[in-house]
Symmetry: C2
Subunit: 430 residues, 2 copies
């Protein structure tokens, strides 16, 4: 068990790489990467860092030299033999050889491509451009690095015991959350907190606390390195970047309208069972489900990642019913802005009506709210998204207009094509 | 910085000696030992463990084999070269060579004498008998071992993360106490918590937290090993055992009445300055001060170790005034059952009227109250006292009848000789 406070203290006087492995990333990135490697290997994409929390002035907090050092370190990484063996040999979602040999060869030869870094208005402009299967793997390490460098910046003037007590408080808080969830019948919850984690060691601690505190109710972590080290399940399916890129490449409105279903048709061919999870909100959940082909209703579940989660889940349940499916056999995964109170309320509302699962992110791996003066460790909303594909801008609408990305004119076009009406804006804190 | 939770976890599967050094003891034991070595080397004494908290059934909690193993380990210890060098060369209370060469030679050759261990009514009967300068050094290691074995027994079925969160909570609690004391002007506070500590590592953590949190206001620790390792002052002067043994050996009431002053006359000859601290409560503070010779009023201070501390301090102040001394030049050391609220209140009442200092014990080094089910880690009142000298029973009255020790008939005789009237009984929790 690492002594986190001491390690943070040591950051002050020696270089300490934040991301030390190419599999210190989310499992679904690798799953999606395999799909992209097969279906769209030659698409060129641009990923870009977007800090939705403008008041957190990252370029003022984080030294550019340190940031470059950390990013350069990631570019020096390649898959180790043990990591490769684990990816090739491990059972994921009950399936052996989830990753095909040609994809594994690609991954074994991979080094992450170059990055572009500038500063503007107190923020870093960090972009990655190149072949989609390479560039997409920058998302998680880039976010982890920026999150942890921000933590280090805030902590660097604190004394050794102040640090230890800070972590003592954060540990106690997390443990109390875990205790509160113990009583939930049939709870299924996973760690989705890699991208917004306070630090690698802290995520690793949080995962271990979940293992001890929740036993079987803790279903695993999205982080492959931690899943490997702690011998637990790696968790994840697919994300917005697949429909976003496919949509950007669609020629004309009809192809655009079809793009999100085309993505899932590919996925349907590649995966079955628990990997068949619909993420319906990229261009509005209501329209997506209304226009969905019947074979999608046969999928295992739906992940609710924006908008009011209870509303989204009720919509999903009504949709299944309208398609003649029994919701009690279906899985709903909540993964947006969860904390323990919301988890308890959603569990109460939906347990028994549908299988419920939670992907707990930022407030599992980065809840240091109120623990330093000025709340300098409060989580904030940093993302790293595909912003262009083969030179065309990407668009995301989601069920919350505060989460929309893309040029304004394109957003309007997408809203028209996908029939998205007035949306309720919800504040995005994490 | 040690990872305490991991260490406690490891206790479950390997032997881990609790007391690893002969100087893992209170400084005043060594000071008193030197005085005894000089003045009463041939006195035979019996020290005995007394658990005032009968509901804590130590013999049910602690395995006898483990207890013997720990006690035997202490008997295998001798002063290391580095420890000897530190005792010989270090400055204590501004004075070099506090320990005389003949005493150091004795100490370098010392191994602790045999112990006698029995069980009765769920308690251990642990006694040490032999030459006073040897036997007296058992007090602190014996108490530390029993306290820590009790902690280990309570913790042994807890999970790894439960343990880490337990310590996280205890750390947070202590840090909050320290924060609360930061604002006190001219605060002077020392660690007196060796004998009742939760564990060695925890005491060491507490001391380091005091160093960082209080800076110069933390004046040092009574624990020699920690003082050496953390490069801070070793703190302490004298204790009840000196007058208790001297009184037991006194022939007749007149000699008995004189014994407490005789002890301090020896001390006066041996020490000056900050080591001239009166501990007036052994046979009642009021009578002791009323009958004290004038040269005692010239001493540096008074330590208040039983009874209501504010009452004791007011008594001391009135006594100095009655002897023509200015209390503002005098030191009062509070050392009985302190916690942060009492410290704040006493500081408020006496700051500016007298120099105030605190010897913070059990609730510095062992405040785990309420942190485990059934409150199994709550501190309790364990002492190890001189119960006989050259075959005669010793007696302590103190300013709290709950702290009195000795045969009932002898207690009555002492009360008569020292003119102790009705005393207010205060509960003794630590």
């Amino acid at each position: 068990m690492a002594d986190i406070a001491t390690r943070v203290y040591n950051h002050k006087w020696k270089i300490d790489p934040i991301v030390r492995s190419l599999i210190d990333t989310d499992f679904y990135k690798l799953l999606m990467c395999q799909s992209v490697f097969r279906n769209s290997p030659d698409t060129t994409v641009t990923f870009s860092l977007i800090n939705r929390s403008k008041d957190v002035r990252l370029a003022d907090l984080i030294d550019e030299g340190e940031l470059r050092e950390q990013l350069d370190h990631v570019r020096s990484l390649s898959l180790t033999r043990g990591e490769s063996t684990w990816l090739r040999g491990n059972t994921f979602y009950g399936k052996r050889q989830m990753f095909r040999p040609d994809f594994m060869e690609f991954l074994e030869g991979l080094r992450l491509p170059a990055y572009h870094l500038d500063k503007r208005d107190g923020q870093y402009e960090l972009t990655f451009e190149g072949p989609w299967p390479q560039v997409m793997l920058w998302e998680i390490p880039a976010l982890s690095i920026l999150m942890e460098l921000r933590s280090r910046a805030v902590l660097k003037d604190m004394g050794r015991f102040e640090l230890q007590v800070l972590y003592a408080r954060a540990m106690t808080r997390l443990w109390e959350k875990i205790q509160a969830m113990r009583a939930l019948p049939d709870l299924r919850i996973a760690d989705f907190g890699t991208r917004r984690r306070h630090s690698f060691l802290w995520q690793d601690w949080a995962v271990q606390a979940m293992i001890e505190g929740l036993g079987d109710r803790f279903t695993g972590t999205s982080n492959c390195l931690i899943a490997q080290r702690r011998d637990i399940e790696a968790i994840g399916t697919n994300a917005h970047e697949l429909p976003m890129v496919r949509a950007a490449l669609a020629d004309g409105d009809a192809a655009l309208r079809q793009a999100p279903y085309d993505v899932l048709a590919d996925w349907h061919e590649e995966h079955d069972g628990n990997l068949r999870i619909i993420l319906p909100d990229t261009y509005g959940t209501e329209g997506f489900l209304a226009g969905a082909p019947d074979w999608l209703a046969g999928w295992t579940g739906i992940r609710i990642d924006s908008g009011d989660p209870a509303t989204g889940a009720e919509t999903a349940i009504r949709w299944w019913q309208s398609r003649g499916e029994d919701p009690r056999g279906k899985l709903i995964i909540f993964s947006d802005g969860l904390d323990v109170d919301k988890i308890l309320a959603l569990h109460r509302q939906f347990h028994g009506r549908v299988k419920v699962s939670f992907g707990w992110g930022t407030l599992l791996t980065n809840d240091f709210r109120g623990l330093v003066p000025g709340d300098g460790l409060a989580p904030f909303s940093l993302v790293c998204k595909a912003v262009a594909a083969d030179g065309r801008p990407t668009v995301k609408l989601s069920d919350n207009p505060a989460k929309a990305t893309g040029p304004a004119a394109e957003i309007e076009r997408y809203k028209r094509v996908f029939g998205v009406g007035v949306q309720q804006a919800l504040s995005v804190t994490v």
